[in-house]
């Protein structure tokens, strides 16, 4: 059988491939059946951020980035969460000069002051589950107050890579807690090991972490990673489950549901499933979950978007994430929309 010796490499290559493809297919079918958000189909446009293994640790940063500024980009799972005990952000360090040099925005300028009914979104979608017409459009009438950074001391920020950015550049690392990971989605939120444990190498899930620690405020921003799979309805179904579970785990906490941050108009028009229209649709539905007693809806988009309704192009490099120096806008917005704890 001399020809086997001659061709063994090709034979090995092709047979391994056959096995691989069959397994992939089976896994695909299974994954689709269970409505999992995991991408991986060769035909599906592999998301801008792929949960992969849901943000599991270390340097397993995924590549395959379709664009430093472009088509389906995978931020992959960077694996680290800027938790409170992580990173050495030091306000005295050379970096922290708000508005130094090239601050082309000015908090006092063109800023948005919390005025009733003045938000960029439609007040008709106020009341969540209270179902009472009187509660409609109350978001604009919620008596938000402005607070200092220490308000966040007993808060937790849960989200995807945008929240990671807030953690890295918001200057809150020492004060508050971040359970955030690139690629996080509502489907993986409770089961992905993204929360670092101090002194240990392993990470635990958000579910476990929320069972161990009590927070008074929960900030949640999720939704962009799920846009590649399922529908708005399937997303909202899961989202509501998430919110319900958060209520169970942290019954006394205020929950701030943050509207999904928009992308630039250019990014939105790229032709994949990430569009501002889709984001807007989801935000409208998310805002309906707010009851203005324990659950509030906050949408930072009016402050960071341009006239066309997309993220201001100069605020971002890739059309999706705010540059470090503009994260302050978001943080300031959150500080100005705090609900007093009674």
């Amino acid at each position: 059988m001399k020809w086997i010796k001659k061709w063994y490499y090709l034979i090995l290559l092709v047979s391994t491939g056959a096995v691989y493809l069959v397994c992939m297919n089976r896994w695909q079918v299974h994954a689709n059946a269970s409505g999992d958000a995991l991408g991986g189909s060769g035909t599906q446009s592999p998301g801008y951020e792929n949960t992969g293994d849901g943000g599991n640790g270390g340097p397993s940063v995924s590549g395959g980035d379709g664009g430093w500024n472009g088509p389906p980009v995978s931020g992959g799972d960077s694996g680290w969460t800027p938790g409170a005990d992580d990173g050495d952000w030091d306000p005295g360090d050379d970096g922290w000069t708000p508005g130094a040099g090239d601050g082309d925005w000015d908090p006092g300028d063109g800023g948005w002051t919390p005025e009733p009914g003045d938000d960029g979104w439609d007040p008709e979608d106020g009341a969540g589950d209270s179902g009472q017409p009187d509660d409609e459009g109350t978001n604009g009438q919620v008596p938000y107050m402005t607070v200092e950074d220490d308000y966040f001391a007993d808060a937790v920020f849960i989200g995807d890579s945008r929240t990671v950015g807030l953690g890295e550049y918001g200057g809150l690392e020492d004060i508050t807690t971040f359970y955030a990971s690139t690629g996080l989605s509502v489907h993986k939120l409770f089961t992905a090991n993204i929360v670092p444990v101090s002194g240990q190498k392993k990470k635990i899930t958000v579910e476990e972490a929320l069972q161990q620690t009590t927070f008074s405020k929960i900030y949640l921003m999720l939704g962009i990673n799920e846009m590649g799979t399922g529908t708005v309805d399937t997303f909202m179904e899961k989202y509501q489950e998430v919110v319900a579970r958060l209520r169970e785990l942290q019954p006394d906490a205020i929950i701030y549901l943050q509207g999904i941050m928009k992308v630039t108009t250019k990014r939105s028009e790229q032709g994949d499933y990430i569009t501002n229209e889709g984001i807007e649709e989801r935000n409208v539905r998310i805002s309906q979950l707010a009851d203005n007693e324990k659950i509030f809806y906050l949408d930072v988009n009016p402050l960071i978007c341009d006239e066309m309704g997309g993220m201001e192009a100069s605020y971002t490099h890739d059309g999706v994430h705010l540059k470090a120096k503009y994260i302050e806008i978001w943080k300031q917005f959150l500080k100005e929309h705090a609900v007093p704890r009674d």
């Binding site: 001659k6 395959g64 430093w68 995978s74 990173g87 922290w96 550049y169 470090a324």
Partner: protein
């Protein structure tokens, strides 16, 4: 802010995925199908199959300019025929010439004609390239035009000089220029390197499998190294250059340096592997550039086919280093300005080219210094350090197309620009996340990687590893999407 990459990818965003080697479409559909067809084609028609396949490959990526490519090949084929027409030497053969007093005049007239024809050909081809690169905005550059233009020119000049005989077969010439392993992003193959193979070559089990192995190494370099370490560079861009710490800036520059290398080297390996599968020995493009001891040495190891093109067709004709020091400086500047223009139309490329020229000139001036014996070893070590410090800085000039952004990034590297909203722990996170990739990348920069490959590729263990690598890459591509090769813009 746009750098080369994002420009490339904006351009690529509407493109079909097939034209990228590191894509599912190519790996699982185009390549196997093509190889089967090619294998089934009888030997004398194999060029035709390769040509047809390459045109399909091109059309899948850039249908708009397929016609231009074909036209270009055809026109240059005829130009080659004319330029290659033998100019009779001193009348050894023709009896009549002994009596023809006009012979010298006629010959010089013919020479003049040939020279003018070459000049016209050069202007035509370069003009087309220049037009698309510098004038035609918005619509994008025809895929691969920078590469195939230079390849065509090398053929024409070689034929004119008499270094090569003209290719009589239009199919063969077209195959030489258009064949898909090297059409999009090089290597810039000289006609002499493939002339024989075009006429007759073998499609063998050994060649096919060996080529697949080399191809796999290139694929892995791109998908597993370049694409992933590139994410660190991307992080710097996303944060905004004003918001990175100085250590992070250096790490990001190093990441970009590695990414650019493995991306391009990976592509060149894939091209080489594909060539080998088909029976061609394509030239190498890289020779462990990061092991160089000077910038001059670096560019004898980086994108070698482009370097030799400029040396053969610009530097040496201008006189090289044989016309005195001042002329040498001028020649070097000329070559580097042209190199910069070839790479891109924005100002930063000119900065890049001039910086490199300055460094090389400086190195030449210092080269004459004789060091005492005791200082030789430390000097040798220092030269490596010097190179590894300087090259990433030059790559930043290459990577960042907006001058203001470049100023900010370089300022962050050297601490001359104040940081805004920096997370001072950013570089620690970066090391934690990318440390392993850096280590792997550094190892792969040394000759160690090649030695390993050569040692193991022919034994069963190596086979298993390579097969595993291949399908790992496929899996990666399926789950993460693809990252078009950075040099496609060119």
């Amino acid at each position: 802010m746009h750098d080369t990459l994002s420009l490339t990818l904006e351009y690529n965003s509407e493109r079909c995925e097939y034209m990228v080697f590191s894509s599912i479409g190519f790996l699982l559909f185009f390549l196997p199908l093509f190889l089967i067809l090619y294998g089934l084609t009888p030997d004398k028609y194999k060029n035709l199959t390769l040509l047809a396949g390459s045109l399909v490959f091109y059309a899948l990526g850039d249908p708009r300019f397929l016609f231009l490519l074909l036209l270009s090949v055809l026109v240059n084929y005829f130009l080659g025929l004319h330029l290659g027409r033998k100019v009779k030497k001193k009348g050894k053969d023709d009896l009549q010439e002994i009596f023809d007093l006009d012979i010298k005049y006629k010959r010089s007239k013919r020479q003049g004609k040939r020279r003018r024809l070459l000049a016209a050909a050069v202007v035509l081809n370069l003009g087309l390239l220049g037009f698309f690169k510098y004038c035609a905005r918005g619509d994008g550059i025809p895929l691969g035009i920078s590469f195939y233009t230079f390849q065509i020119l090398s053929y024409l000049i070689d034929v004119y000089r008499g270094d090569e005989r003209r290719e009589m077969s239009a199919v063969n010439l077209a195959t030489y220029i258009v064949m898909f392993p090297q059409l999009i992003a090089g290597p810039i193959v000289s006609y002499g390197e493939v002339r024989r193979a075009l006429k007759s070559r073998e499609f063998t089990a050994a060649g096919l499998q060996d080529g697949l192995k080399v191809f796999t190494m290139g694929l892995a370099a791109k998908v597993l190294l370049a694409d992933r370490i590139g994410l660190l560079w991307r992080q710097a861009q996303i944060a905004g250059f004003e918001s990175i710490s100085t250590p992070f800036a250096w790490l990001a520059a190093a990441a970009y340096s590695l990414q650019l290398y493995f991306d391009f080297y990976g592509y060149s390996l894939m091209a080489s592997g594909l060539g080998r599968m088909l029976g061609f020995e394509l030239p190498e493009n890289f020779n462990n550039p990061y092991m160089a001891v000077s910038v001059r040495d670096f560019y004898r190891r980086w994108h070698m086919t482009l370097g030799r093109w400029f040396r053969r067709y610009v530097y040496i004709p201008l006189g090289g280093n044989r016309r005195g020091g001042l002329r040498t400086i001028f020649n070097l500047l000329a070559v580097w300005v042209l190199t910069a223009l070839w790479h891109g139309s924005t100002l930063n490329f000119l900065v890049w080219g001039l910086l490199l020229a300055a460094l090389i000139i400086l190195e030449r001036l210092l080269a004459g210094i004789r060091l005492p014996e005791a200082l030789r070893l430390p000097a040798s070590l220092m030269s490596h350090v010097y190179l590894l410090a300087v090259i990433p800085v030059t790559w930043m000039c290459f990577a960042i197309t907006e001058m203001d952004q470049l100023r900010i990034f370089l300022g962050r590297m050297f601490g001359t620009v104040p940081a805004v909203y920096v997370n001072s722990g950013d570089w620690r996170n970066a090391l934690a996340d990318y440390g392993i990739l850096f280590a792997a990348g550094i190892f792969a920069c040394t000759t160690g990687m090649e030695k390993l490959f050569r040692k193991f590729k022919d034994n069963p263990l190596g086979a298993v590893v390579l097969v595993g690598l291949f399908w790992l890459c496929v899996w990666r591509l399926q789950t993460e999407g693809q990252n078009p090769f950075m040099y496609f813009k060119f």
